[in-house]
């Protein structure tokens, strides 16, 4: 009984982690940027979604869509205002660009967090579940909303897979992640590719944020921890590898759930962090990453 509980509970949270982390790794794989404002995009999507759904009275469905749209807009803003100017800046020596981009996105993340705290206070908000009530999953009483969220995560990840592997645009993305120079030689404009990948990222992070708000609740104070958990998973799975990220998300999600149930809820984040430290020392490229 407890085992089934752990399996069901862990699955939902891992799926959410997976969705959040996949976008993060996509951005790194294709454009080489570690976006430390990642948590900020999820939080903004959640807060805007809550605000539109409740305060503005749009209702849960429209509110959720508004939240995702906000995530998309913010991701593009991050690219246009922070990342691209730094990458193109002539005042920064090219060896230090990466560092400046990291610092820049970190600062941007702080701005987002403080801005949100100012507008909405730092209390967690929850979006009303899209479907209320509970259902029986293998004998475990589970909120219907939780099942739906896990399903949605996988549908989105599936759509992403289709996009990357079956559409022309997706193949361009793959190519950009392997050899950007080669791509430009073939006549593709890299800047358009980057806009595309940041847009996809914005939608992914937006959906993740809105679903998290519906499942557990999100507040501006979650900005840092969400970024941290995403990049822990991505480093564990291998920077730039989508399948590695998916695997790592489930490893981390289940590690946390097992710890919370079997050891103590207080110690929940520790095993994953220890695993991360070990991974960095023993195998820094992660499970499936390329060096």
């Amino acid at each position: 009984m407890l085992g089934l509980q752990i399996i069901v509970d862990g699955f939902a949270i891992s799926s959410l982690y997976a969705l959040g982390a996949v976008g993060f790794t996509l951005i790194f794989g294709v454009s080489g940027v570690l976006n430390l404002a990642h948590g900020g995009i999820m939080v903004v999507a959640a807060l805007v979604g809550w605000y539109c759904a409740g305060e503005l009275g749009f209702g849960t469905y429209l509110g959720t869509l508004a939240g995702v749209a906000a995530g998309l807009a913010l991701a593009l803003a991050t690219y246009g205002i922070v990342v691209r100017p730094i990458q193109r800046s002539r005042a920064i020596p090219s060896a230090e660009t990466e560092i400046f981009v990291l610092t820049g996105t970190l600062l941007w993340g702080i701005m987002i967090e403080q801005g949100m705290a100012y507008l909405f206070s730092d209390n967690p908000v929850t979006i009303r579940p899209l479907i209320g009530g509970v259902m029986n999953v293998f004998g475990v009483r589970t909120p219907r909303n939780e099942v739906m969220i896990a399903a949605l995560c996988w549908i989105v990840i599936g759509l992403l897979w289709l996009l990357v592997n079956r559409t022309r645009a997706g193949k361009v993305l793959l190519a950009a992640s392997i050899n950007p120079r080669g791509l430009t030689l073939l006549g593709f404009e890299l800047s358009r590719v980057y806009v595309l990948v940041w847009s996809i990222y914005g939608v992914l992070a937006g959906i993740a944020g809105v679903l998290l708000a519906s499942f557990l609740g999100v507040g501006s104070a979650n900005t840092g921890p969400l970024t941290a958990s995403a990049f822990s998973i991505v480093v564990l799975g291998g920077l730039g590898s989508v399948s590695g990220t998916l695997i790592a998300a489930y490893v981390v999600g289940y590690l946390e759930t097992l710890t919370a149930y079997l050891i103590a809820p207080t110690l929940r984040p520790i095993p994953a962090l220890i695993l991360l430290v070990l991974a960095i020392y023993i195998r820094p490229q992660g499970i499936l990453g390329r060096r």
């Binding site: 970190l106 600062l107 702080i110 403080q114 480093v235 920077l239 820094p284």
Partner: protein
């Protein structure tokens, strides 16, 4: 000849500033002195960071890992074992040193974004540990220490100033010494430095240790100024970013610039206080603007300007 007179002038300038700063308590209110006190400790944080970045070429995204270890090490020792303050400060520095070594030795083997990530992860780990062992560390909200350096604003100010002065002399001196030049070389072009026969890794580890000791000491001193240690003031990522910004603002690779940057940043934070919650937002926005348009910082910009003449 010019470089000799330049450095003599620089040292002279440092002494002059120190003298002026020491006289300030006769003009300024206790409150402004308090702000400057924090700014001086911050200056040491930033200088220690600049030594590592500017000279060893390693970006430490978690200076607060070292600062936090020093701060909490000293605080826990004082709260639980009642040792005198200066013992706790030394202990804090040692804890930071050990932590720094544990972090640095494996991490310096990594390249690219991995080192930066490791330092970030270190901060997270420390933050989580503090929160989980809340009964020893006071958790997220913080812990108090029974002893403070002084309840008098003037005395605290002079302690901080003296501490800053000594650290500046040591760190600036280090940067101008032979060791500093080797570090600078390794930071700019590790392969060439190695080709010249220098043990780059050994020097980088040494730089890390120096950075750790000074960060830890300054963190401990800050705790004994405020009488409290909390995640928000010594570990939080926004503090780490402020340290980095202070150093960048003042000018990377100048050491002294870091002090100027810190003072400017802390004062700016204060003047923006009436904005309430938005003041961190504005400071972060300004810092972002600096990174985008002004990445060489005050001193860096001025010095490079002169080099072009």
């Amino acid at each position: 000849m010019r470089s000799l007179s330049r450095s003599r002038l620089l040292w002279g300038a440092i002494l002059l500033c120190a003298a002026v700063a020491a006289l300030l308590p006769w003009w300024l209110s206790a409150y402004i002195l308090g702000i400057l006190t924090v700014a001086y400790y911050f200056g040491v944080f930033a200088m220690a960071w600049d030594l590592l970045f500017g000279f060893a070429g390693e970006v430490n995204f978690g200076p607060t890992f070292l600062i936090g270890l020093g701060a909490y090490g000293a605080a826990i020792l004082d709260a639980n074992f009642g040792q005198p303050i200066f013992v706790c400060v030394i202990a804090g520095a040692l804890v930071a040193l050990v932590g720094g070594l544990l972090l640095a030795l494996p991490a310096l083997r990594l390249r690219g974004p991995y080192f930066g990530l490791v330092t970030l992860v270190a901060v997270l780990l420390l933050q989580n540990f503090i929160v989980i062992f809340a009964h020893i560390t006071g958790g997220e909200i913080g812990m108090t220490v029974p002893d403070v350096l002084s309840a008098d604003a003037n005395a605290n100010y002079w302690y901080a100033l003296a501490f800053l002065f000594v650290c500046t002399i040591i760190l600036f001196g280090l940067s101008r010494s032979a060791v500093g030049l080797i570090l600078q070389a390794s930071g700019q072009d590790a392969i060439a430095a190695q080709a010249l026969g220098f043990n780059v890794t050994k020097h980088k580890v040494a730089a890390f240790c120096v950075s750790a000791v000074f960060s830890g000491m300054a963190g401990a001193m800050l705790v004994f100024y405020e009488g409290a240690a909390s995640v928000d003031t010594v570990i939080n990522l926004s503090i780490a970013v402020q340290v980095i910004i202070a150093a960048v603002l003042g000018g990377r690779r100048t050491i002294i610039g870091a002090v100027l940057g810190s003072i400017f940043l802390i004062l700016a934070n204060e003047f923006l206080r009436p904005l309430g919650q938005l003041n961190t937002f504005v400071v972060a926005a300004v810092a972002l603007a600096v990174i985008l348009f002004f990445p060489d910082g005050f001193l860096g910009y001025a010095l490079r300007g002169r080099q072009r003449e």
